[in-house]
């Protein structure tokens, strides 16, 4: 019985830690989707770029990935703004039969980023072997007679806590600062925002930059615990989508909850069903959310608020 509890709790802990990181990935995309209604299929590739930045900073200059949080996100912020201004905005203005050109555009951008990474960095798996990679806190260290063992991996936990910190900072930014409020206004009603003096064009550029910076931060937090290779972008793009849909398009709170739910769900699936089926679980949740809860978790939250 204790063994089952231990397995369950450990799986839950892994899930929550993973979920925190996932939330950060999802936040970037949900912001972009909410403000600009753009499906960004290059989200994962941007994360990949950030991870390479962190990798080289570590390998060449021995800069810890957590310190890279101060370097990579700002760089990706600039890259994001550049992409939005030079490539994505022009496409949005153009009149075409199908409005999905922008999605294909992001696919094109993703292809270029991924291929450039392969050319410059080869497709070898890379990692940042930090000293504390295998460190962990053990329950038995603190509770001598514990009936089961639980471990909190050091890098996982630090990454999680930093993710929480960044998410909180983002929340304050969106809720309290003028720019943040302008971004939210643009997401709710672009025309009304413009009429109230919000520079909508600038907000979009900033938002894409912000979304890129967030996913870059997630990259820095991931690299101590994961491998890096050029094509890892696509799976993270997919994860970002699942979280966005699960949480509700454009909802920050939803993305956070969506990330946590997905993290726990994947962890549970991996433990109890089997590693191979975990991606299916991811997609099954995705489709289920689309069909049964199209507004995502956010719509549940709204419903509760209204009935109050």
């Amino acid at each position: 019985m204790w063994v089952q509890l231990e397995v369950f709790l450990q799986t839950l802990i892994s899930g929550v830690l993973l979920g925190g990181l996932y939330a950060l990935i999802g936040l970037g995309m949900t912001l972009i989707l909410g403000v600009m209604k753009i499906i960004n299929l290059t989200h994962g590739q941007l994360m990949m770029v950030a991870m390479y930045v962190a990798y080289w900073l570590f390998t060449l200059f021995h800069i810890d990935p957590y310190v890279s949080l101060l370097i990579a996100p700002p760089l990706l912020f600039l890259l994001g703004m550049f992409l939005q201004k030079t490539l994505i905005n022009p496409v949005l203005r153009v009149e075409s039969i199908l409005p999905h050109n922008q999605v294909i555009l992001t696919v094109g951008i993703g292809m270029v980023l991924q291929n450039l990474a392969t050319i410059f960095f080869t497709s070898d798996y890379k990692s940042t072997p930090v000293d504390y990679a295998t460190d962990a806190w053990y329950l038995s260290d603190y509770w001598k007679d514990a009936p089961f063992e639980l471990s909190l991996s050091y890098p996982w936990t630090v990454s999680f806590l930093l993710a929480v910190g960044i998410t909180t900072a983002l929340w304050f930014f969106l809720a309290k600062t003028d720019t943040g409020k302008s971004i939210r206004a643009t997401a709710q009603d672009r025309d009304a925002a413009a009429l109230m003096g919000v520079n909508v064009g600038l907000m979009r550029v900033i938002t894409f930059g912000l979304g890129s910076a967030l996913v870059a931060a997630a990259g820095c937090l991931f690299i101590p615990i994961y491998y890096l290779f050029p094509s890892l972008g696509s799976q993270f793009t997919l994860i970002a989508f699942v979280i966005t849909i699960l949480g509700g398009l454009g909802s920050t709170m939803g993305a956070i909850l969506g990330g946590l739910i997905l993290g726990v769900f994947e962890s549970m699936t991996a433990t109890y069903v089997g590693m191979g089926w975990a991606p299916v679980g991811r997609f099954a949740i995705f489709v289920a959310a689309l069909v049964f809860l199209p507004g995502g978790v956010a719509s549940l939250l709204k419903r509760k608020a209204v009935t109050k």
């Binding site: 039969i97 419903r303 209204v306 009935t307």
Partner: protein, 240 residues
Amino acid sequence: MALLTVDKVSMFFGGLAALSNISFSVEQGEILALIGPNGAGKTTLFNVVNGFYKPSRGEVRFKDRTVSGLKPHQICRLGVARTFQVVKPLQRMSVLDNVIASAFLRSRTKAGAERRALEILEFTGLMEDRAMISKGLPLGKRKRLEIARALATEPELILLDESFAGLNPAELDVSIEIIKGIKKKGVTIMIIEHHMKVIMSISDRIVVLNYGQKIAEGTPAEISANPLVVEAYLGEAEGA
């Protein structure tokens, strides 16, 4: 004979009542205007009649048959056509093709649909523009195209949503003539409009909505003398 009956219809979105207990009928052959300040619920009511929303309470009956709960295309088949406030024709297709697309509802063959479409274009004064790509039409003609598309489905009741908004005086006259022509053909019309002069001149009866409730119903003369109606409109102007 009442062609359309709206019977104690209410529409709730979340906690908000967009329509409360609306009841009225549309008589066969008449032009009934639906007026009220912005946000009063007029388009919502159209959406309920047309089938886009199922009323939270009450029902809608067309020719004594309950239609609330049917899908829009089924309601159209039964004889109710509708235009939209924001006109969106098949932009990359010609005016003629636009009307043919609707005419297919009653004609199985392309030849039959085309014949019907040409008749309607003649009727709405768009015959000369029939080969023009609808994207290039000026607003007045686009609104007429919208009406033409609805007419092609051979309705008994046609719901016009702000067909006169944004038209200049010349276009206005043309459209008014078309509406009168539709009435002469025996088609019943329910129209949402803000253009008071137009409403007063062509409507047989008027229903006034405010904040989702029916506040008045009667002939144009009765309505213009009704203090509640005056207040509803003036009140909005003062508040603005």
